[in-house]
Amino acid sequence: MTIHLSVWRQAGPESSGTFENYTVNDVNEHMSFLELLDVLNEMLVRKGELPVEFDHDCREGICGSCGLVINGIAHGPQKRTAACQLHMRHFKDGDTIVVEPWRAEGFPIIRDLVVDRTAFDRIIEAGGYVSVNTGNAPDANAVLVPRDDVDRAFDYASCIGCGACVAACPNASASLFTAAKIAHLALLPQGDPERTHRVAAMVDQMQEEGFGDCSNYAECEAVCPKGISISSIALMRREYMKYLVSSTEA
């Protein structure tokens, strides 16, 4: 099939960008969306033009590197699917597809479709861990954890840090990402001792990074490739209330 692409091109963080139009012929329906971009890039390179820069690594939906807004939807129209796992069979011959980067103050554009997501790392650095030095751990079975708790914790822990939640949120809020980590650790006994401090610090950090507030649009859950539920955001708010009434020093 033939696919027309309208792709955001931006030379650098300070440059202003524009959309460029390209046409790719002989698109195979079994191609992934990133493979379509590969084909486009090969074409551009051969013509002596600059290829479209985009982030990718695992290409199996787990590393969280890829991130494209495809026709106005983060990661494209297929639910619970990262862009690298989206296949061309979900498009029609002759379609025009608009491809944009994640857009958010917290994710400055580096080039074309590549954005800087280090804000997420700093949110984790603010408290998204259990403070346990190597070698200090008790036997793994010393603390029992109910299976349901682990299952729920896992649901939240499966976040791949892709940033689609921010990209899709009308407010560019990082609430789902932040809440997923808080919920993962809050549901396990290992995360208990630091829970109040963790939520306070991580919530502060996401705001400092320039992400917006959460108005409960739940668009984030809808585009999340791992289907992380916004119940994590509710849980984060309960944790925050615990912090507000706790004796944890501000």
Binding site: E100, A104, S173, V203, D213, E219, A234
Partner: protein, 229 residues
């Protein structure tokens, strides 16, 4: 871990604290409008009954003042935070998408949720006019069962025979319904009361309540205008 701000400041300025507050104030306002709507329905029980009800409320005196002041503070807080959230969210995405659409289920990105600020502001403006028209409006007196009291029923009949009021009010309360369609569910999510198991029915209930409140308000002016009561 990084130094965090004081707890009171956290409540007012942190992204989660702000939502706790919009949620709590929003819910309190919902309780008020629900009560107000049900109160208005007393109009169908007759003018005397309605006036007696209003008089009863006024006679609560200091209790009512406390409630009124609380509501006012809540309303202002709610409004302030609503605007603040909106502004900081615009700031968080200064460059817009060329194309942007919702992927659908389970997204709650709807006309209701996307228009919260606009619907809220309309309600705010309405409130000023509304209070000027009624609470601080023309003062008529009547006697019910030997007690002299304000004849609010008469004021209502007067106002709602004016088509601007008779149709303006329903328009506004429909906008209120739109505000509450997302708002009621959202408030529970904001205060952390939402669970996955109840979220879907709760969202449906939020719609029913929102529309219910709207319709409950709406029928009084319409009924008066068409002289059904």
């Amino acid at each position: 871990m990084t130094q965090t701000r004081s707890k009171l400041r956290s409540l007012i300025t942190s992204q989660v604290g702000k939502k706790l507050l919009t949620g709590i104030t929003g819910l309190a306002l919902v309780v008020f409008v629900l009560e107000h709507m049900l109160g208005n329905l007393q109009f169908f029980a007759g003018d005397d009954a309605y006036n007696a009800y209003a008089h009863f409320l006024i006679s609560l005196g200091p209790v009512l003042w406390v409630v009124e002041i609380t509501l006012l503070v809540f309303l202002l807080t709610h409004m302030g935070l609503g605007i603040n959230i909106w502004i900081s969210s615009r700031r968080a995405r200064s460059s817009k998408y060329l194309k942007s659409q919702s992927v659908g289920e389970p997204s709650h990105q709807t006309m209701s949720s996307r228009s919260m600020l606009v619907t809220g502001l309309i309600i705010g403006i309405f409130l000023v006019i509304h209070l000027a028209s009624f609470k601080y409006g023309a003062y008529y007196e009547t006697t019910v069962n030997g007690t002299v009291m304000r004849d609010l029923a008469r004021l209502m009949r007067l106002k709602f025979h004016n088509p601007a009021y008779a149709f303006g009010y329903p328009a506004v309360v429909l906008i209120l319904a739109l505000h509450l369609r997302h708002g009621i569910w959202s408030a529970f999510q904001s205060i952390g009361a939402m669970r996955p198991s109840i979220s879907v029915p709760a969202y449906a209930l939020s719609g029913i309540f929102g529309v219910g409140i709207g319709v409950g308000f709406l029928i009084v002016p319409i009924a008066i205008y068409f002289d059904w009561v």
